[in-house]
């Protein structure tokens, strides 16, 4: 309840208030409007506090949710379970971060490869193979068309599938085909499949959004298409799309919590195991929620910061493709810039 923010801060500085959209909807407030907002703010604050008391705090305390038995193991260092609980939570948090780090790195690597592949295929589809015999040229063109269709199909399928389903079937399928891996790898592979597709789309639209002159200049100094992509397009796409990529990191981090469906011992799963002993689900999940909010909020801020920095250095605001936006709301869903 940050409702205590003192009323005068908003109306006294009409144009430059914290929320820019206010200026679209409302004129700069005059003395009367300012008085009204102050009164409304005070009334609303009181209503919120009273409402929070009667609707949240009181029912919770009536159900005994503030009892020491439930909170003690989490907040009281002298409690006998305190260290064991936090040690487990620490292990869980580490497992979460490890899975997220592995997934994001591999998703970046494979996503970049996929993006380059798709750009190259698109380039090749335009080639006519002049100077080769007709059947060879036709065969090569057919091959690129087929490869193009296959990659496009894979992208659409894995973008449209829930990550949970991908992870579930990876965890069930790989052992069946003889790949017995540690649980963390099933989670990482599942997350990678989904996120590499999303990242590839982010990068691809970044590369296609670059001015045509970039490509033409590269061609005119004699770079091959692959060199053009590698040396000219990709670095710029990375820079422009950096905020979207950082947001994707938030998504990955949130999605690691799906590990519980394949019994990977990440933070949420550990918390669930602890609640079976301590019987304090509300309190335990509260702690988990706070952890995720802290980490993800920091990452979102970082994304916003990089975006502002890039804007300052003259890169026009990246056109974030709908795929990237969709990704933000994903099972994970993350704070965008």
């Amino acid at each position: 309840m940050t409702a205590v923010s003192t009323p005068p801060t908003t109306p006294t500085r009409p144009r430059r208030t914290g929320t820019p959209q206010a200026s679209v909807l409302y004129d700069a407030p005059g003395p009367r409007a300012r008085r009204m907002t102050v009164i409304a703010s005070v009334v609303v604050t009181v209503v919120i506090l009273v409402g929070a008391w009667f609707l949240v705090i009181q029912p919770l305390s009536e159900k005994g949710q503030f009892a020491y038995k439930l909170w003690g193991p989490i907040i009281d260092p002298s409690n006998k379970d305190f260290y064991a609980v936090w040690q487990r939570l620490g292990q869980g948090a580490r497992a979460t971060l490890i899975a997220a780090a592995l997934a994001i790195v591999s998703a970046l690597v494979f996503g970049t490869l996929l993006a380059v592949l798709r750009i190259q295929l698109k380039e090749l589809a335009r080639r006519r193979y002049a100077g080769m015999s007709a059947p060879v040229a036709l065969g090569l063109r057919g091959l690129t068309v087929v490869l193009n269709a296959v990659t496009r199909f894979c992208v659409e399928v894995f973008r449209g599938l829930p990550v949970v389903i991908t992870i579930f079937f990876v965890a069930r399928g790989l052992p069946e085909f003889g790949f017995d891996l540690a649980t963390v790898w099933y989670l990482v592979i599942g997350l990678t499949i989904y996120n590499m597709v999303v990242i590839a789309e982010i990068l691809r639209s970044g590369m296609e959004g670059l001015p045509r002159g970039q490509r033409e200049a590269a061609a005119s100094i004699g770079l091959s298409p692959l060199q053009t992509t590698r040396l000219v397009l990709l670095p710029q796409a990375f820079r422009i799309m950096l905020p979207a990529l950082i947001s994707q990191l938030v998504v990955v981090l949130k999605d690691t919590s799906l590990g519980f469906i394949i019994s990977y011992e990440e933070l949420l799963n550990v918390a669930r195991q602890l609640t079976q002993v301590l019987h304090n689900p509300l309190q335990m999940y509260f702690v988990v929620g706070v952890f995720f909010i802290l980490v993800n909020y920091t990452l979102s801020k970082l994304a916003g910061y990089t975006q502002r920095r890039l804007a300052r250095r003259g890169y026009r605001a990246a056109h974030v493709p709908p795929t990237a936006l969709a990704a933000q709301a994903d099972a994970g869903g993350g704070g965008g810039p």
Partner: protein, 234 residues
């Protein structure tokens, strides 16, 4: 591949339950999101703070945690969310009125979670309207509501439709998670049941369940691409 044909009933049933969840939760999310968006753009600072806090919390917490809160937290508080068993509505969406609360919990969780993203989509729409538009509207003497109805909202809506669609697509995919939180018979729980319970072959089940989700998400995605391309060229 016979499984796809033989067990078509299971897949179709799962599809129907998933569709029900998506419709109810989608409406709920739009409601929650609109309310939060109004709060976030209101001139009263405490209301804005409430909206901001809501969005910050639900955007940064995994849906899994939200659903855990619903499935394990609400029963502790003695609630089974009976208020969602709205007469008339529970005739169409029969799961809303059942004794088992998990469908209702899932709907609440999904709505609350998606609502935060709906709020941001709507807000980005309002932000996309140039300040000069509203200033011009005020200058020619339109009142606040006229301004909103004839100038701001039509433009904001146009800018919000693509992000809003992406949020709905994401919600459909997220709904797969509820099968692991006590909702029986939706697509993902059907998959789990057929694979773990009955030991059917993986690949056909995977194809069947995937088709169920892709039928919902891919056409919507293509439609959105169209809308976006048109709005860019226009």
């Amino acid at each position: 591949m016979n499984i796809l044909v033989d067990r078509f009933g299971d897949f179709a049933g799962g599809f129907w339950v998933t569709l029900q969840i998506c419709i109810v939760a989608g409406v709920g999310a739009l409601l929650v999101g609109t309310i939060m968006a109004v709060l976030r753009i209101s001139p009263v600072a405490p209301l804005r703070a409430v909206g901001t806090a809501y969005v910050t919390v639900f955007r940064n917490v995994p849906l899994t945690v939200v659903l855990f809160f619903m499935a394990f937290g609400l029963p502790v508080l003695g609630s089974s969310a009976r208020f969602l068993a709205i007469p008339g509505l529970d005739a169409i969406f029969t799961r809303l009125g059942t004794d088992l609360p998990y469908f209702r919990f899932a709907v609440i969780g999904l709505s609350l979670y998606t609502g935060a993203f709906v709020c941001e989509a709507l807000r980005s729409g309002v932000n996309a309207v140039a300040a000069g538009q509203a200033e011009a509207a005020r200058a020619i003497g339109l009142t606040f509501t006229q301004n909103l109805r004839h100038v701001i909202l039509p433009q904001a809506w146009k800018a919000a439709i693509v992000p809003l669609g992406s949020v709905i697509i994401a919600m459909i995919k997220n709904s797969a998670l509820v099968g692991f939180f006590g909702v029986t018979g939706d697509l993902s729980q059907t998959a789990d049941n057929l694979v773990s319970g009955e030991g059917l072959a993986l690949i056909p089940v995977f194809i069947g369940v995937s088709l169920g989700y892709l039928i919902l998400t891919v056409p919507l995605g293509i439609l959105l691409d169209r809308v976006e391309r048109r709005s860019v060229t226009a």
